[in-house]
Symmetry: D2
Subunit: 343 residues, 4 copies
């Protein structure tokens, strides 16, 4: 009997699961189109030799030794759905053999950008705070309640980091006719200009913005690059919104800058997550807190499934993956954000 | 001695004041360029005959009887800075003689639109609510805190009323790539199409939207047109955001629709303002309250001064006013929102 | 027998005809919904008294004496489909009684803007000229044929006049990421800013642009305001594109400026139309000629019918017209372009 | 004596020259920052061993044998400024060792897109043709000259190929509010959607467009894929604009489709370049010819220099090149357009 041999995929998406990243329809499509072997990171190395020899795509990022990699002669792509790259594979060897390593983190750009804008509007208008006062019968009406209010429209806005998330944020700001500057040391200025933002130094962004959004990925080099001096450079009363990882910030210095009244702030990320109950930021006014909720929307996870299916379909046709982001030889070792432990 | 005779302006901007609507620089410019007579609504009729005869522009909307109007032979424009039109002038006679009546309410479009978007993001992501929980040590991390979260990007959005505010809101939504439908019985469909929104009936807007923004001005005809049946037509779980005047809504029916869990809501306006301490909406969950704070930003009031100066400058050159909105014979009598008593 | 009385409309659209401005479907709708009396400008005054007494809308601009106007007690609107306002009605009396005078010239904005962009691209890339050379076997290949070529993308662009046409042109330029400046003495600067263009003086526009588009309406005041000195102010090699009326330009000076090699030019309008066979501009190189073809597209005329129907529908509901442009007391006397004699 | 050792670059940009791709300022910067060895493709292999050993970047695409490549131990990137990839290097070995191969063809996207729009406007409005008639005193005025005119605004537009050029063209069309469909078999649909165009099959593009732009790169697989049947599928009177390479089209079938009156066309590329003097397309009406002039603008070549400098600067900092386009293992062998012989 003659049957088309389906391409072999090993699925090890932890800490996600297939049900988190695929809708039922997508998952059905996945299983119809591909031969799927499901395993865990722990058991990956113990897969039968035939599976290792024939696996073309891996969904996930199980630990892979060099010896193990050498046995996977058919491997074309590791589709990392966790999005942070752990140093648990011989990346150089993968790249040398032309095996792609791709990540799906771009799915978070849109939800995080919306949260970032929401945090900026909360800082500008005190919407949630005013609602809480209203519930306690302590609201202030009309202009009386707007002493500290400001507009985003027409404001000077600075974006630190101009990857997928910076671009998504910039797109949301289009209707605000804001003057957007961006700092990104990994990008040539022309790419910023093409996106309609003004290339700027870090200091220009800090000194000339009413709102500063931090969306820079954390690397092995930029830990704590936003520090006491950075906050001092900011305009008095300006808003600082942290959306990427807390490691890029000296968090104590940030709290001091808010406490002193120099700036106001919002953050989705914290030095420890969950944060200890007695952490002083908890009860700090003019500091809006969000418990790492910016990106983790069900709809974002489901888009990972879309990306995986689209890129596997391209590769099945002999084309390179285009939807996920490719890891690069030059930068793979520099990406250092901690993997998430929960979704 | 030969001095240029300056154009005579009577200033009676209550309940605003010149200091509310002009920056210091603008006010200086106003007094240098024009001869300003300041008075109150109460004393307006008692102005000296020579003043009445020569006044060219009135900043404000003092009561004007027909007899009084007949004596103001030089009057060219009433620049109403309160924005609601009170029925205290013989509008038909003003229009017949070619006296413009203009309002500055467009200054509120941008701040109200930003607040509207902020309320929508609060309903979508629970930013203020999550911050309050965080302060009490009760936050939920990551996806655990996002059970009810949703995206505006790509959503079906309905706008009821497509005047200055509807247009400003639609502009803010550009970056969200949302599918925007609008209902406005006062506008031809082609104007909606030119603004990139799909013309729709009221029922289509209610039935096919994830977010419904109400920005329709209240008229003598549309009191309570959004009622029990309207809310029932809405998608289960959809968000209703009220930004114009509470009179367009059956507020009790709105509260019931939220209480039943059918929709979620936010409102900047209420049947009584200030609202009694025991009003049930105060402690209603899934109903974000804002104490008529959407438009009353200092920066908005100052733009009134800009508009007044720009339009007086145009009229000084023999041109019609173009910056403020003109009252129309056909609709002046239908506009019926209560004037504000505070700024 | 009980029949709804249909609103009475007198149709006198010359030099257009109903078939020029309405599609068959629209015309059918017009005759079903309204009672139409068709006449000519010459015979208008001789209409039966009952018709004059009951006519609510006039499509066209027949001569109307004051005495005639007084007899038209039901008149609400003159819908001028020629678009230039002739001084053949007692406009002040119409305005005093609240009769609207509206024009449909905005239909030409889009086709003229496209032609303007086409002329600019012809000046930039010599497309038509190169095609003619190609047909004669004299084409130059690749870079050899591009010695005089330039880009619109990123260029400094100046627009003189920022009415419907200026706005339409500016919209077409959005994708070119050009830096657009505009000069319009009839508009407050804030309206230019809202449209994303930089307000500028006439001299700034002339001196700082690579492309100057002239779309200013001719008035009683601006005849020949673009003259020898204006062209001298322009950048060497800059392009001058005339789209509105030749009267705003000293045409002889324009030709000299092109002949001397200082600028290049294109024009859709000429001092005499048709232009004498021996006019020197005919064979002038670096001067692209278009025989007043920019706006006169069938699709534009048909949109007049749309506008007329939409505005009559609004007025039937007691609302003011919003689709056509309203004549203004202040400016009606200044508008002085010659009416067209052909379509 | 202590001197910084400058990075070694071998320059072999033929058929370009350094003076074509660099402005004087850029060239000065290049020579200050890098140690430049200039040679020719012919002499490349004869470079001194020390040069080969130390060269980090090659500007150009000289023939490189496997043996030669093995000697270039420091090579990081081949910056191909011709833009077409010739099969004269062991690409697989370059990729395996992590040597980037990048091209600068994106510089042509903007000028070609402007030419494409210009050709579409020439087909729509006959600007160059009307100018030629005007010069001979045979112009037709106003609507008489517009029998065949049409608008791009609001039209159905199809784009075949959605790489850099397709994206640039789509951007220019933003202001036209056109409905744009695109077909690109190398891209996942989501990338088209993100760019605001509707993904479509080839037949949908052909059958449902008023204007079809062909900007697909030629590959080893798509020669002649637009043939007799394709043109028959097009709407009667629709416009076909060919901007990429003539090999993707059955040119004889295209001429027949124009000759029969079924479609109109414009092309920047031809089966032979230069084209024989007796080729029938030369005198064919309704077929606008451009002698491969769309991209070859001086300003485009100078942007190549920008791209080269920006990417070398990134690589000097240990980052991957981001400005030029990277050749891909999967597709390098499929790209088959003939290199240009002149600039």
């Amino acid at each position: 009997m003659n049957e088309t041999v389906r391409t072999l995929v090993v699925s090890v998406p932890e800490p996600r699961s297939l049900d988190i990243i695929f809708t039922q329809d997508q998952k059905k499509h996945l299983f119809e189109k591909y031969a799927i072997v499901e395993t865990s990171a722990l058991n990956f190395a113990a897969l039968p030799e035939e599976t290792l020899e024939n696996v073309k795509y891996i969904i996930g990022q199980p630990p892979i030794s060099l010896g193990l990699f050498d046995r996977m002669r058919s491997l074309k792509c590791v589709l990392n759905v966790e999005s942070n790259l752990i140093n648990n594979m011989p990346y150089d060897h993968l790249f040398a053999r032309g095996v792609h390593v791709v990540t799906t983190g771009a799915v978070f750009a849109e939800p995080v950008a919306e949260m970032g804008l929401g945090l900026a509007l909360e800082l500008s208008r005190g919407i949630g705070q005013a609602n809480a006062l209203f519930e306690r019968g302590m609201e202030r009406w009309g202009g009386e309640g707007n002493k500290a209010s400001r507009l985003l429209s027409g404001a000077d806005i600075g974006i630190i980091g101009f990857g997928d998330l910076g671009k998504a944020l910039n797109r949301l700001l289009v209707g605000f006719r804001a003057k957007v500057k961006a700092f990104d040391p990994w990008l040539p200025p022309s790419i910023l200009l093409e996106n309609g933002v003004t290339p700027a130094t870090l200091n220009e962004v800090l000194e000339q913005s009413d709102f500063v959004f931090v969306v820079a990925a954390v690397t092995s080099e930029n830990a704590g690059f936003l520090n006491k001096e950075s906050f001092e450079r900011m305009r008095r009363g300006a808003a600082f919104i942290l959306l990427s990882r807390s490691d890029v910030v000296d968090f104590t210095a940030l709290m001091s800058a808010v406490e002193s009244g120099h700036i106001i702030a919002a953050s989705d990320v914290f030095p420890e997550e969950p944060l200890p109950q007695d952490h002083p930021v908890r009860r700090m006014p003019n500091f809006v807190k969000s418990a790492h909720r910016a990106g983790a929307l069900d709809v974002a996870f489901k888009r990972m499934g879309d990306m995986v299916l689209e890129d596997m379909a391209l590769m099945e046709r002999g084309l390179p993956p285009m939807r996920c982001k490719r890891a690069e030889r030059e930068t793979v070792a520099r990406m250092r954000s901690q993997p998430v432990t929960t979704n």
